[in-house]
């Protein structure tokens, strides 16, 4: 029997649930007669985890795809702009130790190997005591914008338009509610508030079709009976009710690579109504982990993620207290366990997991929300028309998702392995046994040249080669081009790109508004659509 996919049932109403529902409903016209039926079942008793206050620039296209106005989003989700991340005290822990991973590609990326030219410049003695600039500042204009607390656009820009590429910081609880309101009002999603008490599958093969054996037929709810559908999406968070509990798909831990296993999070009020709002995430290295610092409109989100093998909770609290300052004693500290890893597969039979039910990693590069977006987009774009094609789509989905998790793990690990900090947490991180072979291989190659897009073979890449460059050269890594000196032959063009970057910095600094000022203006005036 070849069942057509007419109804998708999403279990769980956090951000993962609503983003998946929204993507599916928008693409497959759930607000029309012929459209796909999307049912979202949400428990009234399970609070959303509410992790992930940082997004990727992909969130802009996601919001657009859902038909959401950027002005509404910023106003209602306490959102602010994020122009990448500043990594402080990751290299040697001194006060002036920092580098940026901006969201704008290096100047002339793809046209010249600017990293090679930058490294060559660094090797020369500086003239007139010229200060040595960081890689990110020499090749990209965004660091200068962030350092001065400026926004990535002006009030005259249209919604989602920019001067410098940006993502968002947001209040995840407010974002969840905002998505729910929008999806219900505009996209025609059926919303059921109830508890799922049983999962009913076709254990008896009555159809004669082995592929369907074990498919979920329905989920039973407390008050709304059995909800049937052809595809079930598990957005039940860490409990992974469908994929983990029902299908028993094993969880693959990666705590042998990434040691962070605990987070202590606080919400810090601003000192005053006009305190600056950083337009980037600040990640500061600490003795047994790092502290995130995210500026929303009305408060900061700050948290220490650490390895409990390298720090006691009391020590960790002291580190966080020291970072936050006087206010700390009056704040409510939330402790969140972090189990780094992911399911071995993500799509089993007619069930696919999106969000925390699929996996979670320390929030160093804000990968949680982007993985939800990528999964939701892929499911909506490749939605299997019928049961016959579902296994084909599932196979591709699993391969792609697995590849993505592995690349993220490699990329997160990259941040740690070039550090020269001496605390056990950091030295343990540099132990070769803890570094995936795939990353070790790339590091070996990068001794001779900069990361390039062809190092990554998938067209579903999460981090571009430029991101690896920013981290590598930000952490002081040197690729040695002595075997290929002709790489520097296009010196003239490269110099023109360095110059162009300087011009762009001047232009941006003279034209972009203060970040808080722009956020205030958005509240009053909003962006126009064009």
């Amino acid at each position: 029997m070849n069942k057509l996919t007419k109804t998708v049932v999403i279990v769980g109403g956090g951000i993962a649930g609503w983003l998946t529902a929204g993507r599916l409903a928008a693409k497959h016209k759930s607000n029309t007669e012929q459209g796909l039926k999307v049912i979202l079942i949400e428990s009234a008793n399970i609070p959303a985890v509410g992790v992930g206050e940082g997004t990727w620039p992909t969130m802009r296209s996601t919001l657009k795809a859902l038909g959401i106005s950027e002005t509404d989003f910023i106003r209602e989700c306490d959102a602010s702009f994020k122009q990448g991340a500043k990594f402080a005290k990751w290299f040697d822990g001194t006060e002036d130790d920092f580098y940026y991973h901006p969201l704008v590609l290096p100047q002339g990326f793809g046209k010249t190997d600017l990293a090679a030219h930058w490294l060559a410049k660094q090797a020369q003695p500086t003239q007139n005591n010229e200060p040595i600039n960081s890689f990110s500042n020499d090749v990209c204009f965004q660091e200068a914008i962030c350092e001065r607390g400026l926004a990535p656009k002006t009030i005259r820009h249209a919604e989602f338009a920019d001067v410098a590429n940006y993502a968002y910081h947001l209040d995840s609880v407010k974002f969840g509610l905002f998505l729910q309101k929008h999806c219900q009002k505009k996209l025609g999603i059926t919303h059921i508030i109830d508890d799922v008490i049983a999962i009913n599958s076709a254990d008896n093969d009555t159809t004669g079709n082995n592929a369907e054996k074990g498919d979920i037929i329905s989920v039973s709810t407390q008050n709304h009976g059995d909800i049937t559908g052809e595809l079930f999406v598990d957005c039940t968070g860490f409990s992974s009710l469908l994929l983990g509990k029902h299908y028993q798909v094993p969880f693959k831990k990666c705590d042998d690579i990434l040691f962070i296993d605990t987070a202590l999070a606080v919400q810090v009020p601003y000192n005053s109504e006009d305190s600056p709002i950083a337009s980037h995430t600040i990640s500061t290295g600490q003795q047994a982990g790092w502290i995130w610092d995210i500026g929303l409109q009305h408060r900061r989100g700050v948290g220490y993620v650490y390895s409990s093998k390298h720090s006691t909770e009391a020590e960790a609290r002291a580190v966080l207290a020291d970072y936050v300052g006087d206010k700390f004693s009056s704040l409510n500290v939330r402790k969140i366990p972090i189990i780094s890893g992911h399911r071995e597969i993500f799509w089993q039979n007619n069930c696919v997991a999106v969000g925390l039910s699929a996996g979670f990693l320390e929030p160093l590069e804000a990968s949680a929300l982007v993985m939800v977006e990528l999964a939701a987009q892929m499911i909506s774009e490749q939605l299997p028309a019928s049961r016959v094609v579902m296994d084909i789509v599932a196979k591709r989905f699993n391969e792609t998702a697995l590849y993505r998790w592995d690349r993220i793990i490699d990329f997160l690990k990259l941040h740690y392995i070039l550090s020269e900090r001496t605390e056990p947490f950091w030295t343990d991180n540099r132990d070769a046994k803890t570094i995936p072979q795939s990353l070790q291989d790339l590091m070996t190659e990068w001794q001779y040249r900069a990361p390039a897009d062809h190092d990554f073979t998938s067209n579903n890449e999460v981090f571009p080669a430029a991101s690896y460059q920013y981290v590598l050269y930000g952490m002081g890594f040197k690729s040695d081009y002595c075997h290929t000196p002709y790489t520097l032959d296009d010196r003239e063009f490269a110099n023109s790109q360095f110059m162009k970057n300087k011009v762009l910095i001047d232009k941006a600094l003279s034209s972009l508004p203060n970040n808080r000022e722009l956020l205030e203006k958005i509240k009053t005036y909003g962006f126009s659509r064009i």
């Binding site: 009030i155 005259r156 203006k521 009053t524 909003g526 962006f527 126009s528 659509r529 064009i530």
Partner: protein, 242 residues
């Protein structure tokens, strides 16, 4: 920085204004704010544009006088060479003071007429007086006040117009690359205008809304005035030829 002083008939009984010098305020303007009530007069000579206010990003209406900041192509030989002088220039050197500036004004909701003490049109001996000897307004001052009232009302009308255009999604970005006779070229950015195709495709009920709100003449003035772009290019070519 212009200094704004509130006008009263005791301190300023002998103040005089030379209307012909008011034009000087527009000598270096390349965009002049325009209100809906003067669109049809403006459209006879100037392209009407919608742009965004620098501080608020809100859409505002303006007549285009030149292609770059500081360039008013209608300013020639020390005079405004236009058939119609925009209200925003005519009201010079007078302004309406913001009633929020003093508590008593907030209570009354009244506006205060101020003048710009740095204005070249202000003088103690030349021009027309503002007040008659008995302290009542002269015709000249009454005329200035009526300009200010028109501008104030016009701001509200403009707001209604752009809000409606935005709501009905009738605005479009106007991107224009112009090459002048001497091959020098310029790209116009930050300008918006009415999308004629979308306007033509509006369902009847929406056209009726625009009609009842009295916005259709202004919308067509915006569209038709774009033909004045040729006039503006012509003026620029003449200036470049010198």
């Amino acid at each position: 920085m212009a200094q704004l002083i509130a006008i009263d008939n005791k301190n300023h009984l002998n103040l005089k204004v030379d209307a012909s010098k008011a034009e000087l305020h527009g000598a270096n303007l390349h965009l002049v704010p325009a209100v809906m009530s003067e669109f049809s007069n403006m459209a006879v000579q100037y392209p009407l544009m919608i742009t965004k206010h620098a501080d608020t990003g809100q859409f505002v209406c303006a007549g285009m006088l030149g292609f770059e900041a500081g360039e008013n192509l209608f300013w020639q030989e020390g005079e405004w060479q236009g058939l119609y002088l925009p209200l925003q220039i005519r009201r010079q050197p007078f302004f309406l003071g913001n009633p929020e500036e003093s508590a008593t004004q907030v209570a009354s909701g009244d506006y205060v007429v101020c003048f710009d003490s740095d204005s070249p049109a202000i003088s103690a001996d030349e021009g027309q007086p503002l007040f008659n000897e008995n302290g009542t307004d002269t015709e000249c001052f009454q005329e200035a006040k009526s300009c200010l009232v028109q501008l104030l009302q016009g701001e509200l009308a403009n707001k209604k117009l752009v809000e409606m255009l935005e709501k009905m999604q009738l605005l479009q970005v106007m991107k224009m690359e112009i090459t002048f006779a001497n091959q020098q070229s310029t790209t116009l950015n930050g300008l918006y205008t009415v999308n004629e195709e979308k306007l033509a495709a509006l369902p009847e009920e929406k056209i009726a809304i625009l009609h009842k709100a009295g916005l259709l003449p202004a919308i067509y003035a915006l569209i038709i005035s774009l033909g004045q772009m040729h006039n503006l290019i012509n003026l620029k070519n003449k200036r470049l030829a010198y």
